[in-house]
């Protein structure tokens, strides 16, 4: 069987396997973090909309951003898994979603 990418070394631990995947497919970590972001955002929005009839998009965007940041920070401890540019973009999106959240509250809300 011929693969079009180098198979990761799975005998060195999960982190080495992840680094191997990242070296072969450079979009792997950004897509993984985007997946986490979307899971929190869409899951929260859908659940809130089903329960109370409307969805607080700024709040769930902020929660999704912070969740993604919390997952991305431990990734910096392994070399080759995430680069400074990606981390910078995540931090910036977190701050921008915080700006959106704190400036869109109507009266009676937080």
């Amino acid at each position: 069987m011929v693969n079009k990418y180098n198979l990761p070394n799975t005998t060195g631990g999960i982190d080495q396997a992840l680094v191997g995947i990242q070296e072969s497919v450079s979009i792997f970590t950004p897509m993984l973090l985007f997946f986490i972001f979307c899971i929190v955002l869409l899951g929260g929005v859908m659940a809130q909309k089903r329960r109370i009839g409307y969805a607080d998009f700024p709040m769930w965007t902020l929660l999704a951003s912070v969740s993604t940041l919390c997952v991305a920070l431990p990734m910096t401890l392994v070399e080759g898994l995430i680069n400074p540019l990606m981390l910078g973009v995540i931090v910036t999106i977190t701050l921008a979603s915080g700006l959106w959240f704190f400036l869109t509250k109507d009266r009676g809300e937080i």
Binding site: T76, L85, G88, V89, T92, L95, A96, L103, K105, D106
Partner: protein, 142 residues
């Protein structure tokens, strides 16, 4: 959103930014991270903390002016109105710092993409102007 909630929102934005950026900077420093954060983050962290200190001092001064303000007999107007002016300049610099980081990290510092930031900034200024006018003509500023 009224005037007080707008100021409160800006204050919370500043505190939130300090918390997030300090968390990232100190996490990567304390845990021997393989990712070296560039100088932009350290500069942004220092700027935000300086803004927070300045805001704190301005609010203290403004609050002190409210307590010291006097009403002359028969006029029913306060001599000092500093309380509603506190912290505007530092809030502006804090938000512009966030915009600088967005421009640098998401748009790569490319001036052609800053039209988005200009649009967002213009919208925020428009909303602020609307609320200032609304407050000026006597509407309830919350």
């Amino acid at each position: 959103m009224g005037y007080i909630k707008l100021l409160g929102g800006f204050l919370l934005v500043m505190i939130f930014s300090i918390a997030i950026v300090s968390y990232v900077v100190f996490y990567t420093n304390d845990n021997a991270s393989s990712v070296n954060l560039d100088q932009d983050f350290n500069d942004f962290n220092s700027d935000l903390q300086a803004n927070g200190t300045l805001y704190y001092n301005e609010v203290n001064t403004s609050s002190d002016n409210i307590f010291k303000s006097t009403v002359s007999e028969g006029s029913q107007t306060t001599v000092s109105g500093q309380g509603l002016k506190g912290g505007i300049s530092t809030l502006y610099t804090s938000v512009s710092s966030i915009f600088d980081l967005i421009s640098s990290k998401i748009f790569g510092g490319d001036p052609r993409f800053t039209i988005f930031l200009t649009m967002i900034g213009a919208f925020i200024l428009f909303v602020m102007a609307v609320y200032f006018i609304k407050m000026w003509i006597g509407a309830n500023p919350d």
